[in-house]
Structure formats: structure tokens, C-alpha cells
């Protein structure tokens, strides 16, 4: 058991810190969360800066430990989050890197890394959420194209995306997991309609995407026809892996700020509140250690995060919601004021037990794949 970093890793950290100290003051002000085009420009601009400094491919190419250090240090320095680059860097990119042909990697990966193209994820459908494999969006082969019709929902960043990693049904007669293919769909194609959906937080984070006879080249399929489910599983394991490192660092900072606010407001004398904050401190310290544990394990293995990600996500999504519930108790009636810090975060925290596999689904995964309990009906 060793929590120390190698000299090379420490050097990476020191260089990164120095670079962040230099470039962060030169960044333009953060755009308003409602201004999507401005957010796109901002997020891509940041990715370009990472690219120029040699940090662009840290999510895929670096060792898990270096990735951990990168995410920890950027968050601590207050650097921008991946934002609109999330799907590209953490889902589609790693999938293409693992499953794409050399031509496909050459076509899609460099623009992602250079901060030139935004990707979105078109997996969920109105009738296929947790049961993703029940998806019905049809892709019919016609010459060199697939002709795609159907609808996707909850597609984050769809409004400003250039590409969509799309799951379609190519084998309607096959069992549901064996008739799916993974396509890279340009969002500019005729037949695509994007309708923004407002979230309960009031922002337009995701959208409905309607597909009407959209012609996607067969060359845009990653993996074999009808092998898309397996290809997708590669993507999802990335999503639940190190994706939350920066957020745990951020939660620990918020917790400190919250304690300071509690003191200012004289509710620090309330032992019940104080102990809840103490317990949350234990919680996030434990989650940080679990990240280190998982990263260290990935270091020894394939580098692809495994089902351990489900254990982490279950606990983390709950802890994050608890953090903002405690924040609301500190704030009292101010917790109803959207202009107060933490109030919008409390709203967005509500998505954590739903997005990227609900907590119920994660518990099924833990019980069946780690504990080996029988599959239910």
C-alpha cells in the first residue's frame, strides 16, 4: 500500500501547476450558462490551449495516475471543466480510439483533441432509457448509406454538436442486444431536427433529436454491423471511471466553504448540523481514497475502468446530493434564492442519481456482476 507518486509523476504535476498559473489569468471571462454558442467557443478554446501545451490527450493516452493528477490539479487551480468536450473526450473519443479503423481514428480524433469539433451522445430514446438495448431508431442499409429514422432524447449539448455518437437498430430481427450498431453522425445532415429541452434547473442542457430519413455513410460505422452493443459498453465504462475526479475535489472545496458559511451564520453551534458536515468530510475523503484505489487498480490492468466505477458512482451521486441538501440547511430561506451560490448546484445535483445509469441500475450491476447474484426478471 503506497500512496506516493513517482518522481516523473511529481514532475508532471509541477509542470502542470506552473503552466496553469501562467495561462489561467489569460482566459476570457466564463460565459453565461445559458449562452450555448459562447460556451461552445469557450470550451473549445480551452481544449485548444490544452492541445498546444501537450495535455490534450491526457484522458486517453496518459496513465491512470497521470490522468488523476491532471484532473486534480486543473480543478484545484480553478481551470475550466471539459464542458462541451465531455462526450468527445470521455465517450466517443475513447471508443473510436479502441474500436475504430486507422482511417476513422485519423478523421475524428485529432479535431477532438485540437478543440475543433463537439460531440454529443445519442443513446437514450423515449422508450429506451435504463433499458437502452430496447432502442428502436432504425437504420436501413441503402447502398453506401444507412437511412436512419427515429428519435433520441436527453441528448446533452446536441444544439452545439458537430457529431453525434448514435446507436441505431440495424438488425430488427435479432435479439435486442445483437441488432445494434454504433454510428458517427454529422449533426449537419438533412433530416435532423434538434429541439432543446429545459431541465428542472431552468437551463437547456439537453435536447430531443428527431431523425427523419437521415443518410449516414456506412463508412461512419465503428465496429461491425450489429456489434454496437459491445462497442457501447467500452464507452460506458469510461463514463463511470475517472470522469468524476475533478468533481470530488470540487465537492471537498465546497464543503470547506460551507463550514465557513455555517460559522458566519451562527449555525455552527448546532451540533446536528456540525456533525453532518463532519460526516460529509469523512464521506468525501473516503471517495477520494476510493478514486485512488480504482486508479491504482487500473494502473495494473487494462487502463479501462471496470465495474468498480459503479461502486463509486453509486456512493458519489448520493454524497453530492447530500452535500447540497446540507448546504440548503445552512442557507435557510436563502436556499430558495436562485442567485445564491449552491442553489443552482443543488438543482443540478438531482441528475446524478439518474444520468449515466440510474442508481437502481448501478445497484443491479454491482449485485449481478460483482457479487454474482442471479439476474432478476
Amino acid at each position: 500500500m503506497d500512496l506516493s507518486y513517482t518522481p516523473e509523476e511529481e514532475e508532471f504535476r509541477a509542470r502542470l501547476r506552473e503552466w496553469l498559473g501562467k495561462v489561467l489569468p489569460t482566459l476570457p471571462p466564463k460565459p453565461s450558462p445559458d449562452d450555448w454558442p459562447a460556451r461552445r467557443t469557450y470550451d473549445l478554446g480551452w481544449q485548444r490551449m490544452l492541445y498546444d501545451a501537450g495535455y490534450a490527450d491526457v484522458h486517453w493516452d496518459a496513465s491512470p495516475t497521470v490522468r488523476l493528477i491532471f484532473l486534480e490539479e486543473t480543478e484545484k487551480a480553478g481551470a475550466p471543466y471539459v464542458g462541451a468536450n465531455f462526450v468527445g473526450l470521455l465517450h466517443a473519443g475513447p471508443t473510436i480510439a479502441a474500436e475504430g479503423t486507422p482511417e476513422q481514428r485519423e478523421r475524428w480524433l485529432p479535431p477532438m483533441l485540437r478543440g475543433e469539433e463537439v460531440w454529443c451522445q445519442g443513446f437514450s430514446e423515449p422508450d429506451a432509457g435504463s433499458d437502452l438495448a430496447a432502442l428502436r431508431t432504425r437504420a436501413r442499409r441503402d447502398g453506401d448509406d444507412y437511412v436512419v429514422s427515429g428519435s433520441k432524447i436527453w441528448t446533452s449539448h446536441a444544439e452545439v454538436a458537430d457529431w453525434c455518437e448514435l446507436l441505431v437498430r440495424t438488425g430488427p430481427a435479432a435479439p435486442k442486444h445483437r441488432g445494434i450498431s454504433w454510428l458517427a453522425m454529422p449533426m449537419s445532415l438533412p433530416g435532423i431536427t434538434v429541439r432543446p429541452l429545459r431541465t428542472l434547473a431552468g437551463s437547456a442542457e439537453f435536447a430531443e433529436v428527431f431523425l427523419d430519413e437521415v443518410r449516414v455513410p456506412v463508412a461512419n460505422r465503428v465496429g461491425d454491423e450489429n456489434d454496437g452493443w459491445r462497442v457501447t459498453m467500452v464507452t460506458l465504462s469510461f463514463e463511470r471511471g475517472t470522469a468524476f475526479v475533478g468533481e470530488v475535489v470540487a465537492c471537498r472545496r465546497v464543503l470547506g466553504e460551507l463550514a465557513a458559511e455555517a460559522r458566519r451564520r451562527d449555525c455552527w453551534d448546532d451540533p446536528v448540523l456540525r456533525r453532518r458536515l463532519g460526516r460529509l468530510n469523512a464521506e468525501f475523503r473516503g471517495l477520494w481514497r476510493l478514486i485512488q484505489w480504482n486508479v491504482s487498480e487500473a494502473e495494473g490492468g487494462s487502463g479501462v475502468p471496470g465495474v468498480g466505477g459503479s461502486v463509486f458512482k453509486l456512493r458519489y451521486s448520493h454524497a453530492r446530493q447530500e452535500l447540497y441538501d446540507v448546504a440548503a440547511d445552512v442557507l435557510g430561506e436563502d436556499a430558495l434564492d436562485l442567485d445564491r451560490p449552491w442553489v443552482p448546484d443543488r438543482l443540478s445535483s438531482l441528475a446524478y442519481t439518474i444520468a449515466a445509469g440510474t442508481s437502481q441500475i448501478q445497484q443491479n450491476i454491482v449485485a449481478e456482476r460483482i457479487l454474482g447474484l442471479p439476474k432478476g426478471r
Binding site: 500500500m1 500512496l3 465557513a260 473516503g286 476510493l290 486508479v295 457479487l371 447474484l373
Partner: protein, 297 residues
């Protein structure tokens, strides 16, 4: 960063498990004869397993952190934590923490010849059975212990909390958390109702999944605290491990149904032991306060 166990640490864990497994009381959790039932026994008290104690002593369970010059193995807290996790897992009885901490100070403690008890928080475990009683046991009065395998005395003034004792306690709790998860999963796989294993029902499945989640978070926290030996890390590890053990044992009981409520079943022993350990060193409140204070330090 190599947070995972080294080869040597794995070997140590296997060795401890082996000694405990060979002990005279191995595999005897089930029969009620192993310990007196309060209803039958009256004043009957559990006895120490002296043979196991000496075997643990020979293995270095108590001395492993002493330097080689002092007859120890020169190992650290991570190794001690692994050893205590195994002891917790197997419900080994006796004042393990007090004796471990006395090694090098109380003659015979390191080798397992002498059993040492000490006050921890407001309680002393195994006071009457120990050969040597250390600090803070003045004015101790017996109480009728809820845990049939841990006799308890109450002391008038609480003993100051020792961080190492806290860490070793957390490691024992981790052992319990892991064991009760295993027991629940075993039972859920084999017990059938409505024509299927109860583990196929989601309500049962999700109880088991949460047991694992709590145990794994606790594991990361306990091992990390063993590496850093930092007071705040140890307090966090205690809170997480106490929760994983106590709630895990509760859920394990639930998964066992009526069988879990019987005296014969092993389940209640884990729950009761977890309760006893959770009281050590100021208990939950003190850890929570320490962690709260850390936020504004």
C-alpha cells in the same frame, strides 16, 4: 501510486487467516455451545481462546510493528490493519487492540503469553480475564454485555482516545463489513422462495449492493489512513468503517430473515461486536466533531 496490497502484504493476510482458521474455535460459530446463552448460563462468561492467542503471538500479530531488535517484524500500520481486518472478519475474541498496543511495553504481550486489557472510551473489554490491566481501569464496574463474546466493564472517566487504537478498530470493522456482505450474498444465492433464489429479487439484491459499496469505501479509507497515520484520516476511516460494519450487519440480518434472528446464527454476533467496537474511543460523535473541526481549521 501502488495503493493495492503488495505480495508481502497478501502473504501476511493469508498467514493470519490461516492461523485463525486453524484455531480451536475455527468453524464453531454456529453451535450455541461455543458460548453461553444468557438464558441458560446465568453468570457464565465467554472464555479467552488462549491457544489461539499464543498462535497469533507466534505469528507476530501483536509484535509486528516492533523493530526487529525488539523481537518484532519492523512492519507498519498497513500490515497491522490487514491483520486486524482478518481478526475482525473471523470474530476473534479478546482484547486484541489493547494487547497489540502493549507489545514492547508489557512483558509477554508481544508473544501472546500475556493478555492485556485497557480502557478505551468509557469501557474496558475483557477486564476480568486479562493478565494485565492498563490505564484508566480504576473504579470499573461490570455490565451485562450485549455481545456474548465480549465481557465489558464501565469506567467512570473516559480514557483519552488513541489514534492507533482507532485505526485498528476501523480495520476490525472493515473485516466485519466484508464478512457480513459475504454471508448475505451466500444466503441470497441459496435460499429459495417463490421458486427462485431470494438474491434474484431486487429488494434483496440492492441491500447486498449497498453492503458492498459501504465496505469498499471503508476499505479505501482504512487502508489510506493506515498509510498516512493522520488523525483526521483515521477519524474518517472510523466513521465509514463503523457505518459499513453496523449497517452491513443489520442488512445481513434482514437478508437472513427469521434465521438471522436466532441465537445459533452467526449474524447477530457480527452486529453485536460491531456495536461494541463503535463505542471505542469516544465513538461516532467524537469522530464527527473532529472531522467538522478539520473543515474550519
Amino acid at each position: 501510486m501502488r495503493f493495492q496490497l503488495t505480495m508481502e502484504q497478501r502473504a501476511l493476510r493469508t498467514a493470519v487467516r490461516g492461523v485463525i482458521g486453524r484455531g480451536p474455535s475455527a468453524g464453531r460459530w454456529g453451535p450455541a455451545a461455543q458460548f453461553p446463552a444468557p438464558l441458560e448460563g446465568g453468570d457464565a462468561r465467554p472464555r479467552l481462546d488462549r491457544a489461539l492467542w499464543r498462535a497469533l503471538g507466534e505469528l507476530g500479530f501483536f509484535s509486528l510493528r516492533l523493530s526487529e531488535a525488539d523481537g518484532g517484524a519492523g512492519l507498519g500500520l498497513p500490515e497491522a490493519a490487514l491483520a486486524f481486518e482478518e481478526a475482525g472478519r473471523a470474530l476473534v475474541r479478546g482484547p486484541l487492540v489493547a494487547t497489540h498496543l502493549a507489545a514492547g511495553e508489557v512483558p509477554g504481550a508481544a508473544t501472546g503469553e500475556v493478555v492485556v486489557a485497557a480502557a478505551d472510551g468509557r469501557l474496558v473489554e475483557w477486564l476480568a480475564e486479562a493478565d494485565v490491566v492498563r490505564r484508566g481501569a480504576e473504579g470499573a464496574v461490570p455490565l451485562r454485555s450485549v455481545d456474548p463474546l465480549t465481557p465489558l466493564h464501565r469506567v467512570p472517566a473516559p480514557a483519552p482516545a488513541d489514534p492507533v487504537a482507532g485505526l485498528l478498530t476501523a480495520a476490525e470493522q472493515l473485516g466485519t463489513a466484508t464478512r457480513v456482505c459475504e454471508l448475505a450474498v451466500q444466503h441470497a444465492r441459496t435460499r429459495e422462495q417463490f421458486g427462485q433464489p431470494i438474491g434474484a429479487f431486487q429488494a434483496v439484491k440492492h441491500l447486498c449492493a449497498q453492503m458492498l459499496v459501504r465496505a469498499e469505501v471503508a476499505r479505501a479509507a482504512v487502508y489510506a489512513a493506515a498509510v498516512t497515520a493522520d488523525r483526521t484520516d483515521i477519524a474518517a476511516a472510523r466513521l465509514l468503517a463503523d457505518e459499513a460494519a453496523v449497517r452491513g450487519a443489520r442488512d445481513c440480518l434482514q437478508v437472513h430473515g427469521g434465521m438471522g434472528f436466532t441465537w445459533e446464527s452467526e449474524v447477530h454476533l457480527h452486529l453485536k461486536r460491531a456495536w461494541v467496537r463503535a463505542q471505542r474511543g469516544g465513538g461516532v460523535t467524537e469522530s464527527e466533531e473532529l472531522l467538522a473541526a478539520d473543515l474550519v481549521a
